[in-house]
């Protein structure tokens, strides 16, 4: 497999957009190389013979009963928010 052709520049731009981050041209170049290496490294796994394809299923059906527990204090919950107002989290307007 030829080096670095697993990830193209457009892929990096697409992923950056999904992740809501902006990248400079230099950063994109770097990421093309770095992500390519990571993908190549991980793709070694596809050469391994595997029986189980759905992940670990040694534990299943783990439930809790439908019991209400005390919620966390509102002030404490919103104390770490960058911005707040009247017990609400405050965010930039989105519509």
């Amino acid at each position: 497999m030829e080096k670095n052709n697993l990830i193209k520049k457009e892929d990096v731009e697409y992923l950056a957009n999904l992740a809501r981050i902006s990248l400079t041209e230099d950063e994109k170049e770097d990421l093309v190389k770095e992500l390519g290496k990571i993908i190549e490294y991980v793709s070694q796994l596809s050469k391994v013979e595997t029986k189980v394809t759905t992940g670990d299923i040694s534990i299943t059906n783990v439930f809790r009963e439908d019991k209400v527990k005390n919620s966390t204090n509102t002030e404490e919950m919103i104390s770490g928010a960058p911005d707040k107002e009247d017990n609400f989290f405050k965010v930039p307007r989105i519509i």
């Binding site: 299923i57 783990v62 439908d66 209400v68 005390n70 919620s71 919950m77 989105i94």
Partner: protein
């Protein structure tokens, strides 16, 4: 318009009637102060782990069974990623490739509407956009993590009114199974629709649009009627349709194009690593079958057959499970079905409505209602007294038999006593007697009313009527 066939598929989100959220112990109660029902799990703080609510899974399985779905022997949660301020984790825990149940069917006026899938997921929070501000929005996460099921149909619905009927039937089943309160105003039932049109005979589907923001069943019908007209008009003018999401504008009664996204949604689904998969064997599926039991439409059919009730009566009595249970309990205790039905649907429902109680919490137990009915049948009390006794029993919880004996409400049938009252009434109401003699039949009802009032409703009305007529005709 007739040359076009309308194709509709529905997506219904239903909030489940659990006390606590899907993955944490916070309350699901509607209308609490903002952010008072949240914790690190449902607010998406780092390092927390979700744990599945058993009741939510049970309710989803009951729904799947009621809609004749195949329950998947193996199902799993998946992360659906998108950025929006009402979604604190930046992903919603949902199901994707391995939903809880598939391939169901719901009968709507003798047409099968296939159910593609039913899956479990969590609700998002709520955003408030203050009127006075252009610069910010407020986030309330109380709803974040409330258990939801999503029910998706195949594109089998063929008209806007059929979509409305489908929803009404779905709502009735979900209420009956106590899966959800289906309160649309509080958002516990929400419906989106996909709609396209094609010429009759075409086998390929036309370009579809997705319609959102419909806040009632009526709005669903109106929006789909409008959208079908719009698409057909567009095609007739030779224009092409665009696959897009449109919002129903309730004020203008039209659908409007939503702001278009530059690229297709990419939710990057992958299996939720924090939750082990769900495995349901035949034994669990059998147990759920037993729990679901008889569905409202089956029970309605049985009521008509077994108790000889009218279609209407059976429909009302099976509209809710506790009403149907109350009715059958009365019949079991010896009440005649039709008479029991009339009392439940009439006076009892009126009393319950006035006090905003449901029949499951009625102070008049089935036993008490049957007591009242038996006392009428045995001639112990009149119908008028029975209504009073019902009210008294409803307000105090005292047994009807006790009320009747303590308050001396037994029916007066004795001819001598009634004769005396009739004579007395006639003497006191000379005018009415004269009216009757002049041919005014209503005067008779007036006189009977006077007698019933004198006896506080205890006089046997048939005997009163006979005696009165006898008396008046003799004097005529």
């Amino acid at each position: 318009m007739e040359e076009y066939e309308i194709i509709i598929g529905l997506e219904v989100h239903v909030e489940l009637l659990t006390d606590s959220k899907m993955f944490c112990g916070c309350s699901t109660k509607f209308g609490a102060p903002p952010n008072s029902h949240i914790c690190p799990v449902c607010a998406g703080f780092p390092g927390v782990l979700p744990v599945i609510n058993r009741k939510a899974v049970e309710l989803a399985l009951k729904t799947a069974t009621a809609f004749n779905c195949k329950i998947s022997p193996f199902s799993r949660f998946a992360r659906k990623h998108y950025f929006y301020p009402d979604l604190p984790k930046n992903y919603q825990i949902s199901q994707y490739e391995e939903p809880l149940a598939i391939e169901g069917v719901l009968l709507v006026d003798n047409r099968n509407i296939r159910i593609r899938r039913i899956h479990l997921e969590e609700d998002a929070g709520k955003l408030i956009h203050p009127e006075d501000s252009r610069s910010f929005s407020l986030v309330d996460l109380n709803r974040s993590g409330v258990p939801l099921i999503e029910i998706v149909t195949e594109p089998d619905v063929r008209s806007a009114s059929e979509a409305e009927k489908f929803l009404a039937i779905l709502k009735r089943i979900l209420e009956y199974l106590e899966v959800s309160d289906c309160n649309m105003e509080e958002g516990s039932l929400r419906c989106d629709a996909n709609i396209s049109v094609r010429r009759y005979g075409d086998t390929n589907f036309g370009v579809k649009t997705e319609i959102k923001n419909m806040n009632s069943f009526r709005a669903v019908r109106k929006a789909l009627e409008y959208e079908a007209r719009r698409q057909i008009a567009c095609l007739k003018e030779g224009r092409t349709l665009r696959q897009e999401t449109r919002l129903w504008n309730e004020n203008l009664q039209i659908t409007e194009e939503m702001r278009r996204k530059e690229e297709a949604q990419d939710y990057r689904y992958f299996p939720e690593p924090d939750l082990p998969p769900l495995i349901f064997d035949n034994k669990i599926i059998e147990e759920i079958n037993l729990k679901v039991g008889e569905l409202p439409f089956q029970r309605k059919g049985r009521f008509i057959k077994e108790y000889n009730l009218s279609d209407y009566d059976a429909e009302v009595l099976t509209s809710k499970k506790d009403i149907a249970d109350y009715f059958e309990s009365c019949v079991e205790k010896g009440g005649k079905p039709k008479i029991v039905a009339n009392w439940i649907m009439g006076d009892l429902t009126a009393l319950l409505k006035a006090k905003k109680k449901d029949i499951g919490h009625s102070p008049v137990s089935p036993e008490y209602l049957v007591q009242i009915i038996s006392m009428i049948e045995d001639g112990k009390i009149t119908g008028v007294v029975a209504k009073m006794v019902l009210q008294e029993c409803f307000n105090t919880g005292i047994s009807p038999e006790k009320i009747v004996s303590e308050r001396d409400l037994l029916q007066i049938e004795d001819g001598e006593t009634i004769n005396n009252i009739v004579e007395e009434t006639i003497t006191e109401n000379a005018d009415a007697v004269q009216d009757y003699k002049n041919g005014k039949e209503q005067a008779l009802s007036f006189l009977i009313g006077q007698i019933m009032r004198k006896t506080k409703g205890k006089a046997n009305p048939a005997v009163v009527r006979n005696k009165l007529q006898e008396y008046l005709n003799k004097k005529r």
